[in-house]
Amino acid sequence: MLVMARRVILPMRRSLFVAVATLVVATVAVAILQDGLGVPNPSAVYLVAVVATALVSGPVGAIAVSVASFLLYNWFFVEPRYTFTVAQPAEVLAILLLLFVGVVVGQLTALQRARTELARTREREARALFRLSRALATRETTAAALAEIATIIRDQAGMRRVWVSLGADEATERVATDTNAGEARPQPGTIATLRRMPGEAPAEWVRIHRPGVRPPSRARRSATTNRAAVSATYRVRIEASGASLGSIWALRDRNAPDPDRTETRLLAAAADQVGQALGHDRLVAERQAAEIARQSDAVKSALLQSVSHDLRTPLATIRAAAGSLRPGSGLSSDEQRESAEAIDREVEYLNRLVTNLLDLSRIDAGALIAERDVFELDDLVSRTMQRLRPRLADRPVEVAVTDRAVIVDPILLDQALTNIVENALKYAPAPAPLRIATTDLDGRIRLTVEDGGKGVPAESLGRLFEKFYRVPEKRPQSRAGTGIGLAVVRGLMEAMDGTATARQSELGGLAIDLELPATEVPAEIQSPSAGATRPTA
């Protein structure tokens, strides 16, 4: 605002002041030089006044001062004095030269001044543009940079207030940022909209009157009571590849003129850059959506592949075993019992597979809801281990679990633990040992299941919990696993505010850490006699 004031109001008065002052000083100096010291024709002193005025007020002032100097010198110092007549022809030449040199010097000085001014404006404009692109470049999304952009426009384009709205048209536009957030936005009757011209032609402001909004008396009254007469509203559309994405809105003091060329250029450039950035954002979003769709297709086909394989193998066993149970198959009753047991085993396997698949889909859909309660951890773990014990009979198993209270869904924890143990059974065959232990952490308990199998390469550890991820095997196995079990483990744990991570075990194989939220049991429940001699399971 200060910039504008200096440019508009001050110059006239200041130029006049400078011109008069320098002319007075020059006249006094000439009087002293010529009449006091006897210097012949010191009229060149007036050139100082010409240059000084030219610096301040440009070519018009310089010419005016040159003419004034010519007249003053002629009046005061050229014989006959106090007339504009010149007695000696030599004097005529001198004062005409004074006039000529005055005009030329004045013009040159004024030109220089204009160039400096222009350079300064250009630099300011360049700096503003640089700040604009920097604001956009250093933000992740365009939306985050808008506040800074609005501030830059307000300060550099001489605006009182700037806001940016996003949307396809005025009806759907929503304000994204506002330099004076909180103040009511005016409903102006007239809006100056920037019309872009094709090619190099400068853009121009076009006033559009909006029907339905009456600006007259009421608006003016409220404007006058509202300190400065704020009202001129400017709008620059933000566009990208022909589509309207929103607008930059600006308010300017009413008595200020329309934004000048530089300010207009800045507004247009800001709109262009925001438009480009928004267009880019949109492209990125579309690419991401396409990538997600592609991945989810890939996931679906991976699921179908792995599941159809994993379903078909046990089904083949069941069919063969069922055939052997038919009367007249000629098998001994021992062999028939074996067949029946094989069917049982495969059904159990299929049951677990289907359960995991359903859990996986519930996890993906966000439909898995944990029903949490306070349990002593050893109670739950020993229950699960009891169920799995028959299948662990062929290897050393060590279980040492704390009886501290945890907040879990017992069914989900059972499912997670079962999946981990089954994973160990599959990939760390007997006689690899299995160990289940706990570590007290601050506010949490870590339940670790580790095996003495051959382990998992370090680069696979981070991916174990990904859906359908299988550690690459040298020799493909008939039942390589579906890559579902551990993905379900992580989903189940997260549903209970827990975590699941993998690392190398000291036993040589894989260690899976489950972290569970722990809780303290109130003292009135905790009986003192039991606390001291508490055995771990």
Partner: protein
Amino acid sequence: MTESRSGRQKSRPAPTVLIVEDDAETRAAVVRELAARGYAIVEAHDGRTALERWAARRPDVVLLDLGLPDLDGLQIVGQIRREASTPIVILSGRYEEREKVAALDRGADDYVTKPFGVDELDARLRVALRHGAGPRAEADGGLATGPLRLDPVRHEVTIDGRRVDLTPREFEILRVLLANAGRLVTKGRLLRAVWGEAYQDEASYVYVHVSQLRRKLAAADSEGHLRDLIVTEPGIGYRVRGEPRP
């Protein structure tokens, strides 16, 4: 077809089971297996038929599938419980957890999760049949299993005659659990029986109370006769062993 209570003792060798299951294949397989194991069978393929057959035949035990096409399993449990204490065993899928617990809370006796083995089903039915008569109590109202004895008059629990120090809450929990020996006691039923309706504040700590109780019993039970007396059924409650470990 009028034999009900008096008839049960007589018919014990061949108890009547009402099988309510909408899937024809599953029903046929269960019917075949249970008939082979000496049960008298009544079938129903939906809820309405089930209630009709139940009213007409008064079976000794009901095997009820929760996912019926017409009636909610809970309605059937409620209907039967209004008139009789006939044992009900629930057949449920993995994703009917909540409905199953609600059915057990309303008075169903036990459950079997699909897919189930027939041996397991048979065992559950037999336990349910045994307890159709209600909890066993001694003449003075005392409860006992193996070396454990609970005397409600003197408010005392002993193992092999040695007194076990329990808090009033733990004593009450043990009393409710022993009174339901051999059955499934849901968390909700335990809460209502021990705390009454004002259980809200301590609802989360039921399992902790029971863990404490179990620990005290284990400490006093040097022979290990009472191991696994109270078994946690995750997400449901507790199962209390009916007979002492041999």
